[in-house]
Amino acid sequence: MWNTFKYTLLWLVRSPGIMVWSLLFPLVLTSVFIAMFGPLDDMAQLEPMRVVVVEPDDSVEGQAFKAFIDATSEGDDLLLDPTFVATADEAADLVRKNADTDDPYIGYVTLEQGKPHAYVVGEISMGGLENLKCSILALMLDEYTARAYLAEELVSADPAALADPTVMKALFEPMEATVQMQVTEGQPKESTRFYFALLGMAALFGGGVGLAACQRLKGNTSALGARRTIGATSHARAVAATLAASWLLSFACLAVAFAYMEIAGGVSFAGHEGACLVVVAAASLVATALGCALSAIPHLPEEGKNGILTGVVCFASLFAGLYGQPTMELADTISATFPAADIINPATQISQAFYSIMYYDTAGPLAEHLGILCVMAILLFLVSASSLRRQRYASV
């Protein structure tokens, strides 16, 4: 069994046709993507914005504004990391002094005549993400102004209204929601999706490994397969060793592509590498199962099966959104219309699994995608079981 495992791995690694598709191709494509989109370290979790806040006075507006700042700088998904100072001059000084450090403030906020104002560091010196942060800050303050104005109007028209808790709730909750939405939507770049879809495609191309390995195992596909079939090693062990070797190799190829993406591409998975490797393992398992199932198709030469694999991978990647904006929109339309299409698409599941590592705090969505991938693998293996078990043929 170990013998079969070892030599299966060895011949697969030495097959240029297999390694080109499973390893070289994903690396080349990743390089192309890096050249197109640049490094993706911006994708990392949005950190709280460091702002200097001029301590507001004790007026009603001042207290409300203070409460607002506190609310946005507490809890799990805090948006602001405020530093309070007494005067606007101090604030400006602090911002200026920190501008060239590793941890600059994006600007300072002050309440002038009951209206918040944001003074941000000049845009030119800032990267894309800093710009985004400024927009978010401006948006938050705009929202605050609008709500405060509304509250003021309300109070002058009907002072009793403020006593009604539901009115207060209605006044402030939507603001929070609006701010939240702006943040999560603005956070991932479009190109993130390309990278994740690319990982999905690379994983599935790894199915070529399982396909080739299973082809060489069957007694009716080649003289070599026949010779192996009549050997004295239990067939079940030979199958197990072959699948294990294929899985390991496609796992290794995908892990290399993943590492390349992270190191050369600058896609930071920020400490989630372990979880990512689990996804890589599940993805290559599905790929192996897919190759195995394709090899079970009777009366079709290996080139035909490889052709089908390529077709399936490209088609699946289309709906995972690999080929650019128009197809991404098509993919979105389809997944909105037929949610099932996403569930049965391994490329989508794989890219969404990576996505959920990156953008969800909870493990739920990731577990769900992993579960779907495992079920997929099991089903594909079941489909190929009768062909894999076969040791005797009507003709060879």
């Binding site: 013998n3 011949w11 080649s222 070599l224 009549i230 050997g231 004295a232 009507a394």
Partner: protein
């Protein structure tokens, strides 16, 4: 107990009847020649015996036990050298032999010794690190053999191992098989080259169209078909009466004269050449070159399977 015992084996490929109530019994230690023209069913018979092919009817016993695809204990005693070279292109000579040997022997140390023996046996010492692509046809065939017999099987099947092999390689292959037989291995050897079978086999079966046509030792087969020696005599002039007289001899089946050479085929007999020469002398014919050849298996084979051209 027979090592191989095949009874009434029937195998169809769709409508093609490849084996038609085929029987084969092989005793321990034999070098059994399975001789038949292309498409006669030799490979099919072997593949059925090895349980690679399903068959429609019949029973197959090896080492006295019913053979089935999962009888790994029986399979462990069998070595197969398939008709077509079947090795991994991506693995070296040594790795290939080690892989196939590993299908039979899992102990690494034992296997290493076997692999070394096999490499030496086929004379591939200088090529252990080569990939099959770099080997010539003859060396490739030798690798194919080494992969089949490295585990020192008790029963070895050689399916046309010398096809497309240079004469030197062929001689060494035949020598090797004889050596294996001397060490006690039972050998089943298929070929459509009569000389080889004649040279190494202790018993020969001639088959065609999936059926056994004749079986016996080399000598038995020749007697069975009643074929004797062939005689050629160079003569410049031969009276028709002399040719008719020769033709009239009991032992002579045919006598043809083409103006230069008198060609005679004989049945089984003892003094054919002297009888013929005696007649020529009475007609005052002085023979030039005289050439006599004992019957070959080829003659037997053609006699039995017919002389129609095969593909």
């Amino acid at each position: 107990m027979n090592i191989v015992d095949v009874k009434n084996l029937v195998k169809r490929y769709g409508t093609t009847l490849a084996l038609d109530h085929f029987n084969m019994e092989i005793a321990p230690g034999e070098v059994f020649g399975l001789l038949g023209p292309n498409g006669s069913g030799k490979t099919t018979a072997i593949n059925c015996i090895l349980q690679l092919l399903t068959y429609d009817k019949g029973s197959i016993e090896l080492f006295g036990e019913k053979m089935s695809p999962t009888r790994y204990d029986l399979k462990r005693c069998i070595g197969v050298v398939p008709q077509n070279v079947a090795v991994f292109e991506e693995l070296t000579v040594r790795e290939n032999i080690d892989y196939f040997c590993g299908l039979y022997i899992s102990d690494a140390a034992e296997r290493r010794a076997c692999v070394n023996d096999a490499i030496e046996f086929v004379g591939l010492q200088d090529y252990v690190k080569h990939r099959p692509k770099k080997l010539s046809g003859g060396l490739l065939r030798r690798l194919n053999i080494a992969c089949g017999i490295a585990h020192k099987p008790e029963l070895a099947f050689f399916d046309e191992p010398t096809v497309a092999v240079d004469p030197q390689s062929r001689a060494s292959i035949l020598q090797g098989i004889t050596a294996m037989s001397e060490r006690g291995t039972t050998v089943v050897y298929t070929s459509h080259y009569m000389e080889e079978v004649e040279e190494i086999c202790s018993r020969i079966m001639i088959m065609d169209k999936g059926r056994t046509l004749a079986i016996g030792t080399n000598a038995q087969l020749k007697i069975m078909t009643g074929i004797g020696e062939r005689i050629e005599v160079d003569v410049l002039e031969l009276p028709e009466a002399a040719r008719a007289k020769v033709q009239g001899l009991d032992c002579v089946q045919s006598a043809d004269y083409d103006g230069h050479v008198l060609r005679i085929t004989c049945g089984n007999g003892q003094h054919n050449v002297s009888d013929v020469l005696g007649i020529l002398r009475t007609f005052d014919v002085t023979p030039g070159r005289i050439w006599a050849e004992p019957p070959t298996l080829n003659d037997v084979f053609l006699e039995i399977t017919g002389r129609d051209l095969r593909d």
